[in-house]
């Protein structure tokens, strides 16, 4: 077998060796312009089941995507997990072959910001604790959660994981980006059932730079609190309600409709927005949505995107008005702006958000003040988490119909809703926001307070 010269398990990527290999191989095949993204990672994770180890996993992964420009300026790519010389040679040949089918009307170029300075991120590298210590920690956490209520019989979905990873971007014009990360995660989803009643389930997730930094106690508290709160449930009558979205639920919804802010989707004609939407009202005049992958709450933030463009904070909506789109190099060129650091790497480059910051626009008043779902005079549907976004969201149409977990709040008391869906149109929803409740919360997907929306359709069983 050919030796792997560019990635060594436990030691990461060798950028110099990778560049040397690519330059040599490209020169021998007459390729003058190329770039690549490479990544490698080492993961370990554990799952437990009622005090016993259920599965322990480890993985060493490496991958590379090579992109080349042929003599006609057309682009082709190939990806592989084989970082040996033979693998790189085959990938380069595959990319060259694919370039014959490159799209002449939409050809990516190197990002003009691929050598711009990167913002320094505070991302401490933690040493892995090792799988047996993770196992002990998770067993203890599971036992704690099981002991919180007699109805909690199992924690069927659980996991504690550590990851060390590295990624880089190189191009034939000399750009060189490299980033190392350590991250850890824990998730606990409990299942509870009382005699004669339906099983109920809820959970929580935490992320950190190392397993020792994980807020496991908070994760247990949140999973237990949510699960127990759903034990006493009742059906809800179908109708229109004022809804309060949890930060997690609202961020999920905005994420599912992020094509509103995506320049690639606009150019492809699958976004509800158009070129002319910039500067136009999209939402109530007190809503702000920013994308900020650099927020310190974004654990594992990328310092640069797939094209080497630095990650940065970008205003998407301010005062309810659409201000900017997310861009790759190619879409930015098409719009006459600079890339925003939201690109992938491909022949047709994808664009996507990093991490949202949602809240009131400074100076706007922030909508109706003093909102408190426990003091409301009308019944309030409190939506804790949305399900099946992949199936229930029609992003190009703006419609959604989604199952959710949540509570009906009446007279200051919250009672779990047995089973229900919430349906609507995203543009209508963004213009039916009443205001915000409480402080913004940091979640794995972004920063957001509770969001009040009036007049949403709820379908229930009552």
């Amino acid at each position: 077998m050919t030796s792997t010269v560019t990635a060594t398990p436990g030691q990461g990527l060798d950028a110099q060796a990778l560049r040397a290999s690519l330059e040599r191989l490209a020169a021998s095949t007459g390729i003058r312009q190329w770039d690549l993204g490479a990544a490698c990672s080492t993961d370990i994770s554990v799952q437990v089941d009622r005090g016993e180890a259920k599965q322990m996993k480890g993985a060493q992964r490496s991958s590379i995507t090579i992109r080349v420009w042929n003599d006609d300026g057309l682009v082709g790519i190939t990806s592989t997990s084989d970082l040996s010389d033979a693998g790189l040679e085959k990938a380069l040949a595959g990319a060259r072959d694919a370039s014959a089918f490159g799209n002449a009307d939409d050809t990516p170029q190197f990002s003009p910001l691929a050598t711009a300075p990167l913002q320094e991120l505070h991302q401490p590298l933690r040493e892995p604790q090792g799988i047996l210590r993770l196992l002990d920690t998770l067993k203890t956490a599971e036992a704690d959660l099981l002991g919180r209520h007699s109805a909690i019989g199992t924690v069927p979905y659980n996991g504690l994981a550590e990851r060390s990873s590295e990624r880089l971007y190189l191009n034939s014009a000399g750009a060189s980006r490299q980033q190392r990360l350590s991250t850890a995660s824990v998730y606990l989803y409990a299942r509870a059932e009382e005699a004669g009643r339906k099983p109920r389930s809820a959970g929580a997730v935490r992320l950190a730079y190392g397993a020792a930094d994980l807020d496991i106690a908070g994760c247990i508290d949140e999973a237990a609190g949510r699960t127990i709160s759903h034990l006493d449930y009742a059906p809800i009558a179908t109708g229109r309600y004022t809804c309060v979205f949890s930060p997690e639920a609202f961020l999920d919804l905005i994420g599912a409709f992020s094509s509103l802010f995506n320049a690639r989707s606009v150019l492809d004609g699958v976004s509800l927005s158009s070129r002319a939407s910039i500067g136009q009202p999209l939402a109530v005049p007190f809503l702000s949505i920013h994308d900020n992958g650099l927020h310190p709450g974004n654990i594992g933030a990328s310092a640069f995107d797939g094209e080497g463009t630095p990650t940065r904070r970008l205003v998407l909506v301010e005062g309810g008005v659409l201000q900017n789109f997310l861009h790759s190099e190619a879409t930015a060129r098409a719009f006459g702006v600079t890339p925003t650091g939201h690109a992938g790497l491909g022949a047709k480059v994808s664009v996507g958000p990093d991490w949202f910051e949602i809240g009131p626009t400074p100076g706007s008043g922030g909508g109706q003040p003093g909102l408190d779902r426990f003091k409301a005079s009308e019944p309030i549907v409190w939506i804790d988490s949305l399900s099946a976004l992949h199936a229930g969201v029609k992003a190009s149409q703006g419609s959604f119909s989604l199952p959710f977990d949540g509570w009906l709040v009446q007279g200051g008391e919250a009672r779990s809703i047995e089973a229900a869906t919430v349906a609507g149109d995203i543009r209508t929803l963004l213009n039916a926001i009443v205001g915000f409740e409480g402080e913004a919360k940091v979640t794995p997907d972004g920063l957001c307070p509770h969001v009040w929306v009036e007049g949403l359709s709820i379908t229930g069983d009552a």
């Binding site: 398990p9 322990m56 072959d97 399900s387 119909s401």
Partner: protein, 495 residues
């Protein structure tokens, strides 16, 4: 069902007497025997109850056409190994891209360490620790060596896709976006385990899809269809692009001006083919032993008891000719079975893999599946469908005074309490036993235990449809299917 090339019996290859230095790196075959036996022997000598090695090579091609241009060609290839070690009901699993002797041994050492076991200091010979050596190689791939070569070249594939998007333009109106996509996934696998299992296979899955976005003022509809087969290199060449384009355009045109469905509890008639996603989500996942292990299925102790209406017989198998979920051997080296899950409403058995058999006692069914080497196998569905019944589709619709006809389904999911949901892509109101106006925005939600007894009528028009299923062992190719069925009452989420 007719047995296909994918379900044909294996050839066998006698043990290769060669040494470890003669193995074939570019191909998985019997020359890997000495290396694998050394690994399995070492794992057994360390005290493992069972050691399994899964080797994989992949070759993928993705092509996207938009309007009348090819906008993305995405080839990818890879290799890797997954090593799994069992001790009692516990297991450790490690995956790696490094297929060198040192890389595989390092992965085995890590997997053993997870279970408190240590690799013996001397690698030595293969037959140690009670390991009796590998059986003759069961080579299911022998007749499939040319599959990849026989698939369309890039120029042919791109040409066929552009034909598809061109046909969309011809058949559709108000089309803002026309897309065609093609995916070809080739996989060679070699499975070896310390119980003697030694099998090789080549899999080929191809799928082609058409999607449109139609827009007229504020009215919008987006419709997509995907077609897929396994083990048929000529699949794209033989694809009926015109028929597919007509189907997509007809649906998009109908749904463009559809009103949103009114929410409520309604009787529902679900069309055949991809309508089978309701059984897949509502019940199929709950009949996998992974759910028994987690304690998340309400059917764990119901074998031999009625769990569905007597009209329902449900089957999961990996044998149907060319179906997306068909395979010659599962990812644990076992030939797939035809597994009757429910017969006349009575639960017959669960889908099981190695871990499921060890942890729940349900015998293996050839259902151990995984997306690739980075996932441990789990019990997963293959081709899953409700059997045909005695009625005509028209009889089902005629039996409903006011309800919903779901002609095309979107995706769905099932949660840890058995609650499922799925989206209706193309729906029609049923009024007085007749289909009337099209409606959109419907989501069906319910719980398997409650809905299965409400499937009261099955029609005589069983058809299958290709799909992708994501679960604990990643995304796998599956088929869903059913005849037209009637559900007496289900929650329809809408506006």
């Amino acid at each position: 069902m007719v047995a296909s090339a994918t379900s044909a019996g294996p050839g066998t290859t006698s043990p290769d007497p060669g040494d470890a230095t003669r193995f074939t790196a570019a191909r998985f075959d019997a020359t890997w025997r000495p290396r694998l036996e050394a690994l399995l022997g070492s794992g057994s000598a360390a005290g493992a109850d069972l050691v399994e090695v899964f080797l994989e090579r992949t070759d993928h091609l993705g092509v996207l056409a938009e309007q009348d241009a090819i906008t993305s060609v995405s080839p990818a290839f890879g290799k890797g190994a997954g090593i799994r070690v069992f001790r009692g009901e516990r297991d450790g699993f490690v995956s790696t891209n490094d297929l060198s002797d040192a890389g595989l041994r390092r992965a085995l050492e890590q997997a053993l360490g997870m279970l408190g076991l240590q690799l013996p200091s001397l690698a030595g010979g293969g037959l140690a620790g009670g390991f009796g050596g590998l059986a003759d190689l069961r080579d299911f791939a022998a007749a499939k060596e040319d599959w990849l070569r026989r698939c369309p070249e890039l120029r042919e594939a791109t040409g066929k896709l552009l034909e598809g998007t061109g046909l969309l333009e011809r058949h559709g109106s108000h089309l803002q976006v026309r897309r065609g996509s093609y995916a070809r996934d080739w996989q060679e696998v070699l499975v070896a385990a310390s119980d003697g299992t030694f099998g090789r296979d080549i899999r080929l899955h191809q799928s082609v899809g058409l999607n449109v976005l139609a827009a007229d003022g504020e009215h919008r509809s987006s419709v997509g269809r995907r077609y897929g087969t396994s083990g048929r290199p000529d699949d794209l060449r033989e694809w009926n692009a015109d028929g597919s384009a007509q189907e997509v355009c007809e649906s998009a045109g109908t749904m463009l001006y559809a009103d949103y469905v009114e929410a409520g509890q309604l009787p529902v008639v679900l069309a055949n083919r991809f309508g089978g996603v309701i059984f897949h989500e509502a019940c199929g996942h709950l009949l996998e032993t992974t759910q028994v292990e987690r304690g998340t299925t309400p059917f764990a102790d119901k074998v031999g008891e009625p769990i569905a209406h007597a009209a329902v017989t449900a089957i999961d198998e990996g044998l149907s000719d060319g179906a997306f979920g068909s395979l010659s051997m599962d990812d644990e080296g076992m030939e797939p079975q035809r597994t009757v899950l429910i017969e006349n409403g009575v639960l017959q058995r669960f889908l099981s893999d190695r871990a499921g058999e060890r942890r729940t006692g349900h015998g293996r069914t050839g259902s151990g599946r995984r997306q690739g080497h980075t996932f441990a196998a789990a019990s997963r569905m293959r081709n899953t469908y409700i059997a045909a019944g005695p009625h005509t589709p028209e009889e089902l619709i005629a039996s409903v005074d006011r309800g919903l006809y779901c002609k095309a389904m979107g995706g769905g999911s099932v949660g840890p309490t058995g609650q499922f949901n799925f989206a209706v892509e193309e729906g029609y109101l049923i009024e007085n036993g007749q289909l009337t106006k099209p409606v959109k925005g419907a989501t069906l939600i319910g719980e398997a235990k409650e809905v299965m007894p409400r499937i009261s009528m099955c029609a005589n028009d069983l058809e299958l449809a290709a799909g992708f299923c994501g679960s604990v062992s990643g995304s796998v190719f599956v088929t869903v299917g059913q005849p037209h069925i009637k559900v007496d009452s289900i929650t329809v989420g809408g506006r």
